[in-house]
């Protein structure tokens, strides 16, 4: 195989790939350069490396750098002119009680939403895959494929629609939720403003986000669990492990990497949450209890015309997001991520 391909491509590509240890040593030699910089190799580099990197720099890196620079200016957003003002936007930011509250709200959401969503998703995924009858083969609950399809439904609906639907359900006077509660005889909920009361607003909003995402992560975990050989579960069962013990000691360690990825993605979503908030709490909620950074950023940029300041908020949001990702990696490593069972 290797021989025939290298014959076709004059040994350009395959020799470099099939002998990695030798390739490095030969890298600097004149022979390597002559032999390897063929048309094939150059086009390969171009298509798979240079073009993507160029795109990445043009559309990802450069806007970031630009935004970071704007955060050091007093740009209003509507003129080509701006003055460099150093770090004073950041000084202002850390004295801005509204923004700090938005940060606190986001951090709370980034803690609660991933843990609850992924906990529920894991619970359901276990039930659907290995939580069924303890007799015979390892299998999920009866009709598990039906549950799987049902639970995925909310994820099919766009986030903005979910937000609008739930804002109707939460409506104090005509909403479904208060309708059911008052019908059950709980009269204190007549006209109770779920989204308007500082005690309930943030939980009501988080519930909607969790409701919308559990199905997706459940399907993700199901796929991961299905990738684990059934023999492992059977062996655990023969050793007398119950369902809970199996999921803690077998399932989670075996799909560790999936859980980590899920944590990263849902955390990023919780740190953003702009779409859900735009539909449910466009004004930041009662006493700003549901205000998120992205909302405050948008408002500062487009309503108040302070793009420089808004960019500083964007930089802080990016730093917090990266810190969150780093934290997840660190936690995974501390709790034995190095044992690498699942790879």
């Amino acid at each position: 195989m290797t021989v025939s391909t290298s014959g076709l491509t004059s040994g350009g590509l395959t020799s470099g790939v099939s002998a990695p240890s030798g390739g490095l040593r030969r890298f600097g030699s004149a022979r390597w350069r002559k032999r390897n910089l063929t048309f094939d190799k150059i086009t390969f580099f171009l298509v798979f490396l240079i073009i993507p990197v160029a795109f990445y720099i043009a559309f990802v890196v450069s806007p970031f750098v630009q935004a970071a620079y704007f955060s050091l200016t007093d740009w209003t957003g509507f003129t080509p002119a701006m003055n460099f003002i150093g770090l004073s936007n950041y000084v202002k930011l850390f004295n801005d009680s509204t923004f700090l509250q938005a940060v606190a709200n986001n951090v709370l959401m980034a803690v609660v939403v991933p843990i609850v969503t992924l906990g529920l998703a894991m619970f359901f995924a276990t039930l659907v895959t290995v939580g069924g009858s303890t007799r015979g083969n390892v299998k999920g609950l009866r009709n598990s494929s039906f549950y799987r399809v049902i639970s995925f439904f909310p994820y099919v609906i766009p986030a903005i629609v979910i937000g609008l639907i739930w804002s109707q359900i939460y409506d104090p006077s005509a909403g479904l939720l208060n309708g059911i509660l008052t019908r059950l005889g709980l009269d204190q909920f007549a006209s109770f403003a779920w989204l308007g009361d500082p005690r309930t607003a943030r939980w009501a909003v988080m519930f909607v986000i969790i409701w919308g995402l559990v199905g997706f992560y459940m399907v993700l975990f199901i796929a991961a669990i299905k990738g684990v050989p059934a023999e492992v579960f059977e062996a655990a069962r023969i050793d007398g492990a119950g369902r809970f013990r199996t999921s803690i000691s077998i399932t989670i360690p075996l799909i560790r990497e999936n859980v980590q990825t899920a944590f990263i993605y849902i955390g990023i979503l919780a740190l953003d949450a702009f779409v859900y908030m735009a539909a449910l709490e466009p004004g930041g909620g009662p006493n700003n209890t549901t205000l998120v950074m992205a909302q405050e950023l948008f408002n500062t940029a487009f309503t108040k015309g302070q793009f420089g300041y808004a960019c500083a908020m964007g930089v802080v949001l990016a730093v917090i997001t990266l810190a969150y990702a780093g934290l997840v990696f660190a936690v995974n490593r501390i709790f034995g991520g190095k044992s690498e069972v699942g790879e």
């Binding site: 003129t79 080509p80 487009f302 302070q306 964007g314």
Partner: protein, 471 residues
Amino acid sequence: MDINATRLGRRDFLRGSLAAAALAATGSLAACATSGTGTTSQSSAPAGQVSDTNPFGVQSGSTVDAVIFKGGYGIDYAEFAGKQVEAKQQGVTVKVTPTTKVAQTLQPRFVAGNPPDVIDNSGAGLIGINTIRDQLAELNDVIEAKNYEGTVIKDTLYEGVTNPGTFDGKFIVLNYALTVYAIWYSASLFEQNGWTVPKTYDEMLSLGEKAKAKGKYLLGWGKEAATYYQTMAISSAIKEGGDEVRLALENLKPDCWSLPPVQDVFNGLKKIIDAGYIKPGGSGTVFTAAQAQWSDAEQFVLYPSGGWIENEMKDQTKSGFKMTGAPEPTVTSNSKLPWEALHSTAGEGYIVPSQGKNVAGGKEFLRAMLSKDAAVNFAKTKLSSTIVKGTVPPDGFGSTALQSQVKMLEAAGSNIFSWNFVDLYGMNTDQLVVWNSFLSGDSDVAKLTKGLQDITDKVAKDDSIKKVQVS
């Protein structure tokens, strides 16, 4: 060992790419970046021949690029005006483009130095005038020009309509639709119950009791519109305390919210809230749903709002409702301004960027809008008056709300006032929070005052925000 090292390398790479994905997901940051900065080109002097019929010298064959906010009024009235321009100025084409988010859509064009020729800067996503006011053409020549009927435009307008568009002595925003702020009620419902419109907060309180007896609330609100009550409160305070209240608020004076007339109004409202005459749950209700509770379900009887309310609730108003407006209440019967004094300003702020390619064309478009045909067309199709006088017949095109607006304007005479500071400094979003908790009874007058004062002080102390001095 060797293999193990490569594997770790791959994993590190994957981690790195995950981190990169995390970075890419923080799109909010990248959203700040521009699409590049263009050069600033000063617009050229009028290229066409200036004459009585072409006062701004629009060049034949040029195009007028109009970007119109598409909200409650739609864009058909602007297209109508565009047709008028095309009919009067040979060879000129008007391109009307709708937008629902003015600031987001036009921000890159302002940065690139390529803004449209005329913009209807309205709606929730409008561009804060403070950020662009150096880039706007003065519009004095528009109102000094003659309209298509040959009358000087200035003489056809209602009193004081250019004030809200004048900043530091420069008239740069032409607010087209006349908006009368009032408390609205169903004339038929009031008649049926023998109720009269309250003129003071005490009368309002006693009306609340009567409404309660009929199983209705006095007032209600929606979460995005809690500051309608602020609008009413400021109006009442200005009527009570006169111009000094208005100036203190406009100029963001320390303790402006603690002035006695303002406090009296807040206390008056608080009594109504404490008596339970406000429909609870407003802070969790979408404002249009709340408004339907008033106009359709008649669960509460008074609603403070602007004159757009009729058009906004057209499909959700009970038949025979007879929507009617009355001036906002005063605190006492011997207030500095009479009860009939009116908070009226004009909305739909039209602006002409001075860097536009066809500034003359933009002004010509405004001239068409201010001429009789377009103004009457607007009043008739939108059931709302423009700033042009005499376009609404006595029957108000069959609308009781429009009739009452014209009546209130006539009764107010020259006692018409307005203010800008809330929109000018973009305070509404922050104020909504404070008002929502005040109206739901979670806070008291002291907390409300402190909350509003903090918002005002924050703007006042921020040197990066340009202030407009009002006198």
